[in-house]
Every structure is written in C-alpha cells, then in structure tokens.
Amino acid sequence: MSVEIKNLSYIYNPKSPFEKRALDGVTLDVEDGDFFGIIGHTGSGKSTLINHLNALTRVQTKPRINENAVLNVCGIDLTAKKPDLKKLREKVGMVFQYPEYQLFADTVAEDVAYGAKNLGVDKDEINVRVHEAIERVGLDYDDVAMRSPFDLSGGQKRRVAIAGVIVMRPELLILDEPTAGLDPKGKKDILELIRAVKRTCPTVVMVSHNMDEVAEYCNKVAVFEEGKVMGVFTPDKLFAERELIKSLGLELPTVTELAAYLAESGVNVDPSTLTEAGLESQLIAYAKNIKNNAE
C-alpha cells in the first residue's frame, strides 16, 4: 500500500481567534497503482493533506489530537519523531499548484537537475535522468535544455517544472491542481503527460477542481468537505450519486451532464457516461440505429 492514513487531524493557529480545523479525523488508503483523485472546495483540507504526505506539514502533536493517528507513506512512518525525510522525498514527488514559480536556474537542464543533485545522484546518472525527464514531459531536449526557463511559454514552463520532479524518479507522484490556469488544449496535454508518466511512476494522487478530469483519468476519488472525507468512490459510482454531488455543491462532468440531458430528451444513451469517447460511440451507435430503422 502506498499511503495509509488513519484518524489524521490538523488545526491551524490553535487557541487563537484564527483557529481552523483543516483536517478532522481523515482516514484514507491509496493502493499501489492507483490514479487517486481528491476533490472538494477551496479550504476543505486537500492541500493540508497532501502537504502531510511529503512531511512539509508534520503530524501535529500539540494540541494532542493525533494520538491514534497513522500516517504511512511508501513504507515510512511519518508519526515518528524523526522520519528519514531524504528517503521520503526521494520516493514522493510533489508538483505544487502553479509549479512554474519554482523555476530558478539559468538553464532548463540545470533546473531539472536540481532535485536529482539534492538526492546525491552522480553526475553521469544526472545527465541521463535529465535528458529522459525532459523528453518524457514532451519537450525536445536539444531545443530547450540550454535555454533559460524564463524564456519559455506558460505551458512549457509547467512541463519543465514537472520534469524537475520526475527526475527524482518518485514511486508516488502528487499533483496539486496540475491544470490550473491553462487553456483547454494545455490542460489536455498536461493530463495526457501525467498518464504517460504514470507508466513509470506507478501511483499518482491528484487534487482537482475539475470534474471532467477526475471522471476521465482517476480510478478512485476521495471527496473532501470541511476537513472530513465524505467517502471514497470510483468515478462512475460517485457521479451516479447525484444527491451527494448536489449536497456538496459539486458539479457533474460536462460529458455526464450532456449524456443525462440527451437521455432525458429521448436519445438512447447511458445518462451516467463519464468519458467523451464513451458518449461518442454511443451516439454513433444511436445514429446508425436510426438510419437502419429508416431504411
């Protein structure tokens, strides 16, 4: 199991007027090989949770709220006083929101190499990894490697930033809204890229606001609301529970909404279709059917 969380809580600014319970007894499991989605409103505790997974936020001990908490990431116990952070960060790669803000080096190659250098990988190995990481995020090594990262376009910068994380060859990749602020084509490209990366990094956790992405790419989805997990579902189960979706103020994927509308108006399609491809094939079948009937 990649991630095991039991009864994890976190309070910001305890004992002050700014006190805020960001996590409230969270229990979650992420299995090896999952493409795990986390959805919920802004301030529902998603970011606090993923910061725990990389020990950027440590399990809170004061006030005493985590006495029976379990937080196990890639076999490392993070409730321990001094876990091996270096090993943890080697295993867990984290792509933050707007990761292009983390770029700093003179050249793309240098920037991508930063993580591997910090891990103490030797020089030849770094060069191999950097080359591989840049190609894997869909950029041309010979074209970009020696350019300044600040000269690239927004989408390219984001790719470089993601390359800077996968160069560490993590076992678990965490992404915090990887598509925020991109145009539709950029979004699609980044998601396809993540899907491709998943072939070498088996487990992916993705925080998202976008139901379309979650429906299309994730195999499991956890729903967060005010620091609590409202449940873990497969996408088809989740979006079949219209009442829950509505009560949490979430939306259906665009495709599902369209399918539901079509089904209601008498077109013979499954109202809980989740992917564009799925709806497309159903519509083609429907059209053929009509044509056959007409003949």
């Binding site: 990389n54 700093f104 891990l119 560490m168």
Partner: protein, 287 residues
C-alpha cells in the same frame, strides 16, 4: 512562519480598538517619551499598572501581548548583564557604605548601584516594547498609515510627497503577508525537490537559499508590474483632489485617552522633578 505575532492585529471589539488611530499613535509616542522620564522602580510600577489597565481594556490576551517581548528578550539579558558588570557606581567606599557590598573580579564589578541601574534598564526596555506592540495589536496597518499621513500632512507645505509616501507604506505593509505566504510555498516546493535549508555552514546555507530568492524576486517584480497596471487603470493620479472614504474624526473616548496619557506623563514628571518639594514624593520614589 505563520506564527509571527508582531504586527498582527488581534481582531476583537474593544474600546481600545475603536479609538482613533491618530490618537493611538500620538499616545504611543507620548508613552515612549514618558518612559524615558521614569527613573525609579516604584514609578515603573505605576506605568506598568497603567499599561496593564489598557491591555485589559483592549481585550487582547495578556499572554499574547507579553509574547511580543520574546523578540527582544536576548537584548534585555545582554544589556542587563553588561550594565551589571561594568557599572562602578559611586566607587568602592561609597558603595560599601550604601549597600554593604562591592565585589570586584578582574575587570568586572558587582555593586548595588549597578544592580539597580541594570534592573531599571531592563524595565525600561520591556515597557518600551509592550506599548507599541499593543498599538499594532489593536490598529490595522491601513488605519495606522492613514493616521501617519494625517499627522505628517503639515509637511506638504514643504512640498514633501506625504500622500505618496503613505501609499507606498500601506502597499508595503499590505504585501508582507502575501510575500511571506509566497516564500513558504516556494520553500516547500524546493524542499519537496530535496532542498535542505538547515544544514551545512553559513555559505552552504546562503547558497541553498538561492533557489528560493530568485523565484521570489521574479514573483515580486511581476506583482509590482501588475499592481501598477491595476492602479493606473483606475485612474489613480496621486494626492491631488483625492478625498477620503473614511474621514477620521475625534470623539469623546479619544479626548479621554489623550487626557489619560497626559495625566500619566504629568504624574511621572512630578515624580521625576518634584517641583513643589513634596516630601512624600521624595520618600515614595527612593528606589
């Protein structure tokens, strides 16, 4: 980094929070002046009691106000020890006669006057920090800037750009928390890439900060350009012909507060100079 308490408003309703920012600023300055006239422990006690009363009235928890002293704690200890060790008082014989001890070792001396002076300095430093920190706990940076602008407005006659300075100040104050948040984000991102900011010697640490500083500069510059555009697009053109949304107006509590602070200053001056030669004042304020 979220725990920095200095300069953070404690948001409760209280008579102190409601006071006019100008009054609070002038009273704080008066308070600082007052403290410099105090030279005995008894009078420090009087000032401390007055301050305590104001803190209670402000409904900011005492512990929170006291925590602002943490910043200068080292300074206070340092001053105390040095004053104690190097103050020779009135000389060996007189000190021996007055306090009964005068201990000399090497270049250092411990004597009665030294101890008293060191204690007074410590009291002065503590009180000096507590007062202004109460001001920042009860006044938003915006109000404070408006007050400063108002109080400095006579300097406009000398063609100093007071409004622009105040604007710069309020923008700076406004952006401090934003930039801190940004720093934390970037530090986290680099930590996730295996960076380590608390290992190695000072040069190594400084070098380790580079991947944080460069993105910070870029973000700050970018934000400055965006802000300038936003300000321009709302037709901002400086102070000329600009009116205030919140017009500051003195009310009865502000006058009372002024009177209170003036009374405190007056009392302290009476204790310090004893103009009328009252014997009880002389006896009261011996140490």
């Amino acid at each position: 980094m979220k725990d920095i308490s200095f300069g953070q408003v404690y948001p409760v309703e209280s008579p102190i929070h409601r006071l006019d920012a100008r009054a609070k600023l002038i009273i704080t300055i008066t308070y600082i002046v007052t403290i410099f006239f105090v030279d005995t422990f008894v009078v420090y006690g009087v000032v401390a009691v007055a301050l305590l009363g104001v803190i209670l009235l402000s409904r900011v928890p005492l512990r929170k106000v006291l925590s602002s002293v943490k910043v200068i704690f080292f300074l206070v200890v340092f001053t105390f020890v040095f004053t104690l060790l190097f103050n020779r008082g009135m000389g060996p014989e007189a000190e021996e006669a007055a306090y009964g001890y005068y201990i000399e070792f090497g270049p250092f001396v411990i004597c009665g006057s030294g101890l008293i002076n060191a204690g007074r300095l410590a009291c002065r430093l503590f009180l000096l920090v507590l007062g202004p920190s109460l001001l920042t706990f009860t006044t938003t940076p915006m109000d404070l800037t408006a007050a400063i602008e108002h109080l400095l407005s006579p300097l406009k006659l000398l063609r100093l750009p007071i409004h622009e300075l105040a604007m710069m100040m309020s923008l700076t104050l406004r952006l401090i928390p934003t930039i801190m948040e940004e720093t934390e984000k970037i530090m986290n991102a680099q930590k996730a890439r295996g960076a380590c900011f608390d290992h190695g010697n000072i040069f190594k640490r400084a070098a380790a900060l580079l991947p944080v500083l460069i993105p910070m500069f870029i973000c700050s510059l970018k934000r400055a350009y965006e802000l300038a555009d936003a300000i321009d697009s709302r037709c901002y053109h400086g102070a000329k012909g600009r009116t205030k949304m919140k017009v500051m107006k003195y009310r009865v509590p502000d006058i009372l507060a002024y009177l209170f602070s003036a009374a405190l200053l007056f009392a302290v001056l009476v204790f310090a100079y004893n103009w009328w030669g009252w014997s009880w004042v002389a006896e009261f304020a011996v140490i």
